[in-house]
Symmetry: C2
Subunit: 389 residues, 2 copies
């Protein structure tokens, strides 16, 4: 059910002591091969954490043999010292793996991910011994422990497994914020025992992210640490077509993205915004995002108010092709706005459940896209004002 | 202290019965001349309310002799019937003024503003008799009554008066939301007894809005109804230079903008974000807005948390010119971030007061700008989830 579901991977998770709570805070995923091809997608934020800068360099070779992830500190905005800390972490992982396996590992084989408070250096005196413990604890069935060790404000670990034709894609993720716009870090490690070169993995991962993680309430403004990695061991001996691999990786990302949404900080609603009748997919995405990012719309859903006027107001802020007098909006199946004005009785809209479906028909073409978001709740404000992250 | 402070204006405010509360909901401002030059700035939202579409037409002549404003209903997303309602309102104002003054008024002399719930038609059976009552109640000293009648979630009326050299600029405004990004309507009527043609008024008003209302937490995404009008009677006989008039109008707009901010729904902090060292004013504005619009930054200030990491994360989402390792950030005078990493002790930052000043030095040039915003509070979510607007 996780990163160790595909053949060729071991994982582990330990308590290094980075978190005051004493919860597990250091995870390790190791690719035992025979292959070690890999791809990565990183935050578009120009203020990048040290582990992002490091892992981007590692990925240039298209090879990743291990990933070390810590919660309890983002190692972002920590200057050159922070970068050295990341380097030392990768070196320690490589040294410990070399000692344990009697095969040579180098720091350049090790990607690093961090999540937690920005602007503080990591306690290396605790982290480095934690790396040794994590290596000692590596096992074929410890993927769940790794998923638990990367949690921050998450209330539960997120894992997935997707079966392909003779191969498997597994994965884990952490993240429980409004994600992209609110700069809450998302980390994700996907594994597969498929045979694929790094270019194929890269194309599959980018397309999968584009229609899943990138459509969670996203305006492209990611956190300082966001990282999605895909590692392939080739242990199944099966080489799927690029299209098939993309579909399986996309299914894994979709599953994890929905788990992130339903665990969003303080949220009471999972909202899907389906925009149809768009002149282009870009238009559909822009309209969906403008609705998903509008605080008044989000507050209205928290209050069980089917406020289609706020939705029209949000649509009006976009550059998408549409006629304001031709807009139709449905909430949970009731077309409460027709032709840009009041439609069916808003009293018929049932908003008592957690799932909310907004449908917008722009009547400007045949393209469509769906964006996912949450409501803006009292719990969200409480959590994000009380918890420094 | 309001729209009737300059010579040549009468105003009034009555209860037409549009609001369930029975509070005043219809305001009227009349320019008795000798001039009737005018300018207007309207929402950039492509979904425009009927009164906006109407008033934009009226302003094409550069002449406005009266403005009628109602709260209790936005008349937005109401189709062609809504536009006819606005037309009928202007006709009724013109007819009542013609009867009362024995001078001919036409509907095309009358601008209309509305604010309240989107998507419902106005109760014209109540509104039109209200217009007659408002005309009967017009007086040289009733500006305050007009300012009160345009309130919605405002807790207090907003008015201003600014003295020029021999002339005066007065004004009133309503608005109590997060303004632009949250689509809460802002209405503003400014009056002056200066002598100025409509082109001069237009240039002065646009420049004034650009550095005041447009810098309140704005991304250019205004509500369906936002309107700012400037009416000149010429009754002082004084014709200030365009520069002087612009400065006085800007002072009036600045005063009203600050009143809007300090009455924002549920806010507990008034936050000014001063961006210096920018390569261009555009860069400074973009950086300021990205911080002002970030929900995690806003939540942190609600929680009295000087979370500079979230501020750096917000800066990193912009396209402005800067080096991430050269960013300095001060909160209330304490430089807690220097060179993109931790600076002075965050414990020294005092966030107990309502005023918060964020200073960002991009070290990329000598341009600057200030953006104003509020925190994201429990009260904001409560008000905007419980109140349908």
């Amino acid at each position: 059910m996780t990163v160790t579901s595909p053949k060729g991977f071991r994982a582990g998770g330990v308590t290094a002591g980075l978190k005051p709570s004493g919860s597990p805070d250091l995870a390790l995923v190791v690719n035992d091969g025979p292959d070690a091809t890999a791809a990565g997608v990183f935050t578009s934020n120009r203020v990048k954490a040290a582990p992002v800068l490091w892992s981007q360099q590692v990925l240039r070779s298209g090879i990743v043999r291990a990933v070390v992830l810590n919660s309890g500190g983002a190692n972002a905005c920590t200057g050159s010292q922070g970068f050295q800390d990341t380097h030392r972490t990768a070196e320690r992982v490589a040294a410990a793996l070399t000692a344990a396996s009697r095969q040579p590992f180098g720091a350049a084989d090790v990607a690093v991910c961090s999540t937690g408070l920005i602007g503080e250096r990591l306690p290396m005196g605790k982290l480095l011994p934690g790396v040794d413990a994590a290596v000692r604890g590596l096992a074929r069935d410890r993927g769940a422990a790794a998923a638990e060790a990367i949690m921050t404000t998450d209330t539960r670990p997120k894992t997935t497994v997707q079966a392909g034709e003779g191969y498997t894609v597994g994965g884990m993720a952490k993240g429980a914020g409004m994600l992209a716009p609110a700069l809450a870090t998302m980390l994700c490690v996907l594994t597969t025992d498929a045979v694929a070169d790094s270019e194929t993995l890269d194309a599959a991962l980018r397309e999968a992210c584009r229609v899943t993680f990138d459509r969670i309430d996203s305006d492209g403004c990611m956190s300082t640490n966001d990282t999605v990695l895909l590692l392939a061991s080739g242990a199944s001996g099966i080489e799927p077509s690029p299209e098939e691999l993309t579909a399986t990786v996309t299914a894994a990302c979709h599953d994890l993205a929905q788990q992130l949404l339903s665990d969003a900080e303080g949220a009471t609603k999972d909202i899907s915004i389906e925009v149809t009748g768009a002149a282009s997919e870009t238009d559909a995405v822009e309209v969906g995002r403008s609705i998903a990012r509008n605080n008044l719309v989000k507050c209205a859903f928290f209050g069980n108010d089917p406020n289609w006027g706020r939705i029209l107001g949000a649509i009006g802020t976009t550059a998408a092709e549409f006629d304001p007098d031709a807009l139709d909006v449905a909430i949970n199946g009731v077309w409460i706005c027709r032709g840009g004005a009041a439609g069916d009785d808003r009293g018929k809209v049932d908003l008592t459940g957690r799932k909310v479906h907004v449908r917008v028909d722009l009547h400007a073409g045949d393209q469509e896209a769906t964006i996912w978001t949450n409501d803006l709740s009292l719990g969200y404000v409480h959590e994000n004002s009380a918890y420094s992250s």
